[in-house]
Structures are given as C-alpha cells and as structure tokens.
C-alpha cells in the first residue's frame, strides 16, 4: 500500500546564456541524462531524470539560454515554445526553474518578469552563489521571493550545493498546482523598458552591490582583447590547438587502427576464405574502424572548444574574429562552427545553430565543408608523401609541410570568398548585428567538461556512425560484386560495379588528369573522403593501406602518377563534396533537400574547375 507511484513532474530550466544552466542541469541529473533532437527542428534536446527525497521522478529539460521569450533564433524559439507548452511532441512543463547567475541579476530579473506572465509556477535558482558571497554581494532572499511571488533557492552547481533544496522547492510547487492564466505576449519596446525599470527597482530594494567586484575579468580582457596582443594570443592558441589535434591524436588513432587490424586478422584465421570473411574484415570491421578512428581528433578538438566556452574565452574569440568574419559577410559567431569544421564539417554544421539569422546560418552551413576537415588528411598525406619531394627550401621550410599549409590556406580562403559571394550576391543583405555578452571568466569544472566531451563523442558515434557504417558496407559491396570472371588477371575491383562506374566517368575526368583508378576511387570516396585512400590501395592491389601497404601504395603512385595529376587530385579534394554524411546532416539541419543539392552542385563545380586549372597549369609548367 506504500507502493503508490508518485506522479512524475516535468521541470524545465530557463535562463540567460552563461548563467551556469548546463552546470546546474548536470548537478541535478548527474549521469541520468540523454541528448537527442526536438522533433522537426535540429535544436538539441537535453533531458535528465532526478528522484526527489520523497521518491517522485522529475523529468528535467535543459532549454537553450535566452534573454527573452521573444525568440530570435531556432534555439530561442524552442525555449519559448517549450515554456508556453506549444512545442510539437512535448508536454508542457509543470514547473519552471529560472536559473540566474547571482552576480549578474539585472537581465535575468527582466526575463523572470516575462516568465511570471506565463503563469506557470517557477522557482528562482541563484546559481554561482559562492562567487556572489566572495564578492560581498548581499541579496535579501526573502524580499526577492516575496517580490517575485516565487521561491528563491541559492545554488553552487559545480559543488552540488543547494541542489536538494532546489529539487524540494520544485516538487512543492508541483504538488501545490498553483497555476495562473497565461497572459504573456511579445513585449513591445515600451514594455521591455518598463520591465527593465521594474527589475532595476527590485535590484535596488533587495540586492546590495558587490563590495569586492570581480576585477580579474577586466584585467584579463585588458590583455586578451588588446587589439594586437589579443589577436596574437588567439592565433597562438589556435596553433597549439591544431598541433594537439594532429600530434596527440595520432597515437590513439594508430592504436585503433592496429586494434581493428588485429581483429580483422583474427577473424581471417577463424573464418574460411570467401565472401563472409571478406564482408566481416573488409566491410564490417573496416567500417567500424573507419568511424572510430576519427574519435581521437574529435575528442581533442571538442576538449579545447568546451574549455574555451566554459572559461568564457569563446565570446572573446568571436569578438576578435568579428571583423574578419564580417568581411566575409558572416557573423563573429560563425567563427565557432567554422573552427569546428576543421575536425569535421558535421559537428561544425550542427554548431551553426548559435547563429540567430536564418540566412547567415545557411551561408555558414554551405561553406563549412570547405574548411579542411580531418578526413582530408589521409588523402593529402598520401598524395603529398608520394609526389612532393621531401626537401627543405631556404634550408628551413619543409616543402611537404608547405604544400599541406597551402591546402589549408586554400580551404580557409575559399570559405571566406564563397560566403562573401553568397551573402552579397545571392542574399543581397548585410550581416546580422553582432551583439553578445562577454561573460566573466571562470575556472571550468573538470567533471562538467568530461561529461560534455562524453556527450559529443556519443553524438558523433551515433550520428556519423549510423551513416558511415552502412555506406562502408555498400562500398564494399560495390567493389566486390560482381566477382571477376574465371581466369581474370586484373584486380577484382576492375570487374565490379565500382570499376564499371569509374570507367564510365573517366572520359569526363580525363581533362583534369584523372586516370581510371582515381575515377574508381571517387565512387567509394563519397562515403567519406579518407575511404578513397583505402580504395586506391584496392585498385592498385597493394591490399591493406596500413604500414607497409601505405608505403607500397605511395611508391606505386610515385611511379605511375605525374606531379600534375597529383596536384589536380589535391585541388579536387579541397572542394569536392566527397562526403554523404555531410550532405545528410545538411538535409537534417535545413529540413530540405534543396540545400544539400545546392551544396553538392557548387562544390563539385568548383572542384572540377580547380582541378582543371591546376592540371593544365602544371602541365604547362612541364610537370605533366
């Protein structure tokens, strides 16, 4: 009879950006959270569970940060619709938790006044209360609670302080059922001013300003936002970041490669020679390995990105890069998605939802794949190693390194040029206003960084993995079926579907210097750019392109390809949309096949033109 199950309650977290909302969500739900997407839109949906002292289960929804219920971006629209109970496929929340940075109350109080109009019961969580206390900020909690007509709880999310009180307050509101009528509507400018006045009044009555306000942020900004020193520090930081991505990730990626290689070898011993063994080792295991091998790079890159965001530096980076981005017709915030695209365009494209305006966002999505993603590295490394001599110019600059740098520079430059062209010629608009809060610097919380990193890894594995793996198996099938006729002498792939397609498109690719082996490699290379390397290994019959196989392939390419052909292939890979996963994610983000089609069309045109120009110029220089 005591086993009556208490009715679960739905709680939603609402707050300004930088209020420590994610930390609070993490403190509330711990490991009991899952990340998905809202139905129909691509905004990330984070929900977690917490059980109250009395045994009631609370479903906690972490809504995107906002300054107002008047939504300006897809993320903020989710927050508004969720709060108002209008979001398709979502139940309306029973209780709201308004999350506030206790040291920065003015704007959130105005948001709270808007929330109050919604009529749903809410509790105000004054987060980062330890910092407020350290600064000597005094808040009359009872007065504030009386004024707002809502309970006020102090929390320190990173130390899990005040969490039980907050849960108890939310549950009490749920039990009390004190809902009022919703009288919210989009405020006019005059109403926003009036609400500011009211918030100011509340501040004056119940909050005594900090005795020892944060001076560290001002001092740090003096250096980090310095017009010259700040830019140099940002560049140095980016340099360290990419060094780390490429050097630290290599041992881990090698380990993954070796592990899957060994697994394939083991299966080779158990399963007899034939189609099944080929499917298991070359299709399935190679496919899973092909997804996993990117994980180290993505983890390291996101480790830096999360760190930069959680310390508060990311907003400064956007500030420093805004002018440059503005020249390309983009918003300073486009810097983050484009930066992420260095690892992979997929997280980069998903990160474009930080951009408010739809057109700016579309432009950023369309150009993100031009940034040199890590999947191009195996292709670049293979071709550079095979065809560019290993020597120094002027004694210090490594020629191979210089070509690699040139490829990256070409990627960045084309990103900026293409976006400027889209913004100026196609949309004919200026760029969205750049306005953002520069939050106080904070020491990031190790646990929170680790959890966010884990979530990124899972998102990558499930979203990218789900597309790459079947493609790898399809590619395997294309390259294996139909089998070679009895007595055939050439490599088996020559007789397969992939071989047929490669031969069929080869005449079109002849003017850009591609032989039929390259044309064949482009087909499976659609699955993911780096797959082209493995396919070249197959068509040139060197087998596995790890270790000895890779050097054998490089030797073959060195003997069989002209420098002009190699350069043309590199130019192709700067632009070509050789990645179905990217096209898939663009479809999901824009909710239309139009934009992936536009992307595919413009990228393949640029690739062909660039390769044509490169090949013909190189031949004219006698490199043919």
């Amino acid at each position: 009879m005591t086993a009556t199950v208490l009715q679960p309650a739905r709680i939603a977290l609402v707050g300004n950006p930088n209020s420590g909302k994610t930390a609070l969500f993490n403190a509330l739900t711990g490991s009991r959270q899952k990340v998905a997407n809202y139905a129909g839109v691509t905004v990330e949906r984070k929900e977690g569970l917490v059980t109250t002292a009395g045994g009631r289960v609370l479903h906690v929804l972490d809504l995107p940060g906002t300054y107002s219920l008047r939504a300006r971006s897809p993320d903020e629209a989710v927050t508004r619709d969720a709060v108002l109970g209008r979001l398709a496929g979502e139940h309306e929340p029973d209780v709201l938790i308004a999350v506030a940075d206790a040291t920065n109350l003015r704007l959130v109080l105005r948001l709270v006044l808007e929330l109050k109009q919604v009529g749903r019961p809410f509790v105000l969580a004054l987060n980062m209360f330890d910092i407020a206390q350290r600064q000597g900020l005094r808040i009359d909690l009872e007065g504030l609670s009386r004024e707002l007509g809502a309970p006020v709880v102090t929390t320190v999310a990173t130390r899990k302080r005040g969490i039980e009180d907050l849960v108890a307050a939310a549950e009490a509101l749920f039990v009390a059922h004190a809902e009022k009528a919703n009288i919210w509507r989009e405020p006019t400018a005059a109403e926003i001013r009036a609400a500011h006045g009211q918030a100011q009044q509340i501040m004056r009555s119940y909050v005594r300003p900090a005795e020892r306000p944060d001076t560290l942020t001002g001092k740090l900004d003096g250096v980090l936002l310095h017009p010259v020193a700040g830019l140099l520090i940002l560049l140095a930081l980016l340099f360290v970041m990419f060094q780390a991505v490429f050097t630290w990730a290599t041992p881990a990626a090698d380990l993954i490669n070796d592990g899957f290689g060994a697994l394939g070898g083991l299966i080779g011993q158990i399963v007899p020679e034939g189609l099944l063994r080929s499917f298991l080792t070359d299709g399935l295991i190679a496919g899973v390995g092909g997804v996993l091998v990117f994980l180290p790079q993505i983890l390291i890159l996101f480790f830096f990105i999360i760190l930069l965001e959680d310390t508060g530096y990311m907003a400064r980076a956007a500030f420093l890069m805004d002018k440059l981005m503005g020249k390309a017709g983009l918003h300073g915030r486009a810097f983050l998605p484009l930066l992420s695209s260095f690892a992979c365009a997929i997280p980069g494209i998903m990160a474009t939802r930080v951009i408010d305006q739809k057109r700016d966002r579309l432009t950023t999505i369309l150009v993100a794949p031009l940034m040199t993603c890590s999947a191009r590295i195996p292709v670049y490394t293979l071709i550079i190693g095979a065809l560019i001599p290993q020597r120094n110019i002027w004694g210090v600059i490594n020629l191979q390194g210089l070509v690699m740098f040139g490829l990256y520079a070409a990627g960045i430059l084309s990103t900026l040029i293409v976006s400027a062209v889209i913004q100026r010629l196609f949309w004919r608009t200026g760029s969205e206003p750049f306005m953002m809060e520069l939050p106080a610097y904070k020491v990031p919380d190790a646990g929170l960084v680790a959890r966010q990193l884990w979530q990124r890894a899972m998102i990558f594995m499930s979203r990218a993995g789900r597309i790459i793996l079947p493609m790898m198996v399809l590619v395997w099938a294309l390259a294996v079926f139909p089998g070679p006729p009895p007595g055939a002498t050439g490599p088996a792939i020559d007789y397969s579907f992939a071989g047929m397609i490669g031969h069929a498109i080869q005449p079109v690719l002849a003017p850009i210097g591609f032989n039929w082996q390259m044309s064949v490699a482009l087909i499976p290379g659609m699955a993911a750019r780096e797959v082209a390397v493995a396919t070249l290994g197959t068509v040139y019959a060197v087998g596995d392109v790890e270790g000895a196989g890779l050097s054998a392939l490089q030797g073959l390419l060195h003997a069989q390809w002209s420098l002009a052909t190699g350069l043309s292939f590199l130019a192709w890979y700067i632009f070509a949309p050789q990645c179905v996963a990217t096209l898939g994610v663009v479809k999901r983000e824009t909710n239309s096949w139009l934009w992936p089609a536009v992307m595919f069309g413009y990228m393949i045109t640029l690739a062909y033109l660039a390769s044509f120009a490169t090949f013909q110029a190189a031949r004219a220089l006698g490199w043919g």
Binding site: I192, H196, D322, K323, P433, F434, M435, E437
Partner: protein
C-alpha cells in the same frame, strides 16, 4: 547610491533627441562615436538612429533593450577591435557586452564633461 538615475520614461524621452542634452550638463553623442575609457549614461535608445540595416529599427531597438542597453544605464567603451576600431566591447552597468559600431549608433549617451 551611485546609480541614482532612474530609468527615464520613454514616452517623455523618445520623441526628440536634442532637448535631453539641454536639461543637464555634458555632451550627448552616439555610442558609436564615443571615445574609449570615457564613461557616460545612456539617454536614448532608438533603432532608427542606426539607419537601414538587416533588422528593422524596432527589432534592433528591442534587441538592444533586451541586452541591457536601456535609458539610465552606465556605459563605457573598454576595448576596440584592431581593424577600424570595430567591434567595441563596452561596460554596461555591471556587465560587459560586445557590439559593432554600426548598431552602437542606435544608442545615445551623455558624457559628463565635454572635454576629454
């Protein structure tokens, strides 16, 4: 004590730009033309001051207001970008906010003494 300036009633403040300057000492200037390191108080926020942009005047005004650019708030340019001294980072009461000079034209500020 220090922030005795009440938020000014927009109905009184908004219609004209000039009279507000006459009622008190100091010089009224758009934030976009302000000098770094000189504190002032916002006297008027009006989207149409910024001219034609991506956003219509009313939307720009509401966004500025939501970010805390409201009449009576203390404001001071803290940092400027390298190229064309743009964008600017400003202290806005107890917060720091970054914006471009283009949008800063919509914010009029009274600076205390006319001399730098």
């Amino acid at each position: 004590m220090s922030e005795v300036l009440l938020s000014i009633d927009p109905a009184v403040e908004a219609p004209s730009a000039a009279p507000s300057a006459a009622s008190a000492t100091g010089v009224v200037q758009p934030l976009s033309q302000a000098v770094r390191g000189r504190p002032g108080v916002i006297v008027r926020v009006a989207g149409d001051l910024a001219g034609q942009g991506v956003l219509d005047a009313g939307e720009l005004e509401r966004r500025l207001l939501e970010l805390g650019f409201v009449e009576g708030a203390r404001v001071e340019i803290l940092h400027e970008g390298l190229f064309g001294r743009d964008p600017i980072a400003v202290r806005l009461d107890d917060m720091r906010v970054a914006l471009r000079r283009r949008e800063a034209r919509a914010v009029e500020v009274r600076f205390e003494d006319s001399a730098v």
